[in-house]
């Protein structure tokens, strides 16, 4: 068995649920997009994400 060193501390709780956010104020287009996509999935409009094999990049 290989042992790893203790990981350094994190600044947030890994299980913390994100609060409601105003996506338009997030200064990262990537993060704003992901949050928006996940909200859409929650309301069932875009849940058909594709599964794919790791050696293949199927973006849609």
């Amino acid at each position: 068995m290989i042992k790893t060193s203790e990981p350094p501390g994190v600044e947030s709780d890994p299980t913390e649920k994100p609060p409601e956010l105003d996506v338009s104020k997030i200064p990262s287009p990537v993060l704003a997009r992901l949050i928006e996509e996940m909200r859409n999935e929650e309301i069932g409009t875009a849940h058909m994400y594709n599964r794919f094999h790791n050696r293949h990049n199927r973006s849609r």
């Binding site: 290989i2 042992k3 094999h53 790791n54 050696r55 849609r60």
Partner: protein
């Protein structure tokens, strides 16, 4: 996922078909040819029409049972070695057996892309993803021909044809890059943006605890993690970003969602590999662990077995379960749910098998902490 309680079988998400066992180039890091596995040498060079028919019949039979579509990925070797006529016949044969919503895609090194190939892919609704590692001086370090010559120019010609095709919006599904930790992620990212792909996926180099990945000096070292952290910093603040699947998946999990690929998170994937002779294999990346690591004890083949028989077998269930890490280090890790123990092949050590954290454990931890901290900081702005 999926251990499907309804049927008591592993549900298939993806069938990855090795339609050619040989490749027209010889990438230094290739897990098929250059990491000790010799399975390719005993395989037919290309999948025959008889095997394609047997596979189509087997997949049709499985779909009737599963009643849920699965993706079909054409892979190799280099799948375009079939040429346009054989490729069209193969895809059409499979298409005819499967529901129309079945997604067909193909992973290629791009060199053999021609107008004729693109016409076949457009006709058969098959998307293409191209493997390229970055600009010439990065790409040609590893992705070389059989005489050691760089392949950059030919790959770029293929990408240009793909981008300029009238059906490019459908056909061009993305780029796939293996990381060179000595490269500048800013340079690689900027270069990929000039190629206009809908997305890019970055892969760690294959390797394990016994044979460390190139560019990684020890289990504790973080060359790849640092590379990804630098990429993350660029990506998060780019006003017109590409999609980077690996980073997106990490962020999705941290935000409470699920990943779309293996290698992060705890979602299991039902993947079936079919070799050119019709035999059923495990995830082909396991070849990098030891010679024959991707072979089942059972000699299953689409010529002689129903896929339902494979998917309901104990051996397949055990293989499927092996996606989940067994290491106590992983199970005690606060980032277990995000990291998921990485990819199975990266856990291998000759003495202890797969019962280890990923050889990229330290890299993953560094990156996940960085993603988490960035998200926390950005949330405060909203």
């Amino acid at each position: 996922m999926i251990w499907a309680a309804r049927w008591g079988v592993v549900e298939l998400d993806t069938v990855l078909i090795k339609i050619a066992s040989r490749c027209n180039i010889d990438c230094h890091y290739c897990y098929v040819y250059n990491m000790g596995d010799t399975g390719w040498a005993s395989m037919p060079k290309q999948m025959s029409h008889e095997t394609t028919i047997a596979l189509a019949t087997a997949l049709k039979d499985l779909y009737r049972t599963q009643k849920r579509p699965f993706a079909v990925v054409l892979h190799g070797g280099e799948p375009l070695l079939l040429g346009p006529a054989k490729l069209k016949r193969l895809i059409t044969t499979l298409h005819d057996a499967l529901p129309p919503e079945t997604a067909f895609s193909l992973q290629t090194n791009g060199i053999l892309i021609t107008e004729e190939i693109l016409h076949v892919c457009s006709e058969t609704r098959t998307t293409l993803s191209v493997s390229i590692d970055g600009p010439r001086h990065i790409h040609d370090r590893s992705r070389v021909g059989h005489r050691g010559q760089g392949t950059y120019d030919k790959v770029m010609q293929g990408i240009e044809l793909l981008r300029n095709h009238r059906d490019a919006d459908f056909l061009y599904s993305g780029l796939l890059a293996v990381i060179d930790p000595d490269s500048d992620p800013s340079e690689v990212y900027s270069f990929f943006k000039t190629l206009g792909p809908p997305g890019v996926d970055f892969l760690y180099r294959d390797g394990n605890h016994t044979r460390l990945p190139a560019g990684k000096t020890s289990f504790q070292s973080t060359e790849y993690g640092e590379w990804f952290v630098r990429l993350l910093d660029i990506y998060l603040y780019d006003p017109h970003p590409l999609r980077i699947r690996f980073l997106d998946d990490l962020m999705r999990i941290i935000l409470g969602g699920t990943a779309t690929k293996d290698g992060v998170g705890l979602t299991d994937f039902g993947v079936l590999i079919v070799d050119t002779d019709g035999s059923i294999a495990k995830n082909d990346t396991l070849k990098s662990a030891f010679d024959g690591a991707d072979r089942f004890m059972q000699k299953w083949s689409v010529h002689t077995h129903r896929l339902e028989e494979v998917l309901t077998s104990t051996e397949f269930a055990e293989y499927h379960a092996s996606q989940r890490p067994t290491s106590r280090v992983c199970h005690a890790c606060p980032e277990f749910k995000v990291c998921g123990g990485g990819m199975t092949l990266h856990r291998w050590q000759d003495e202890s098998g797969f019962d280890n954290p990923s050889v990229y454990c330290s890299d993953q931890i560094l990156l996940i902490r960085s993603v988490r901290n960035q998200i926390t900081a950005l949330r405060k702005c909203a």
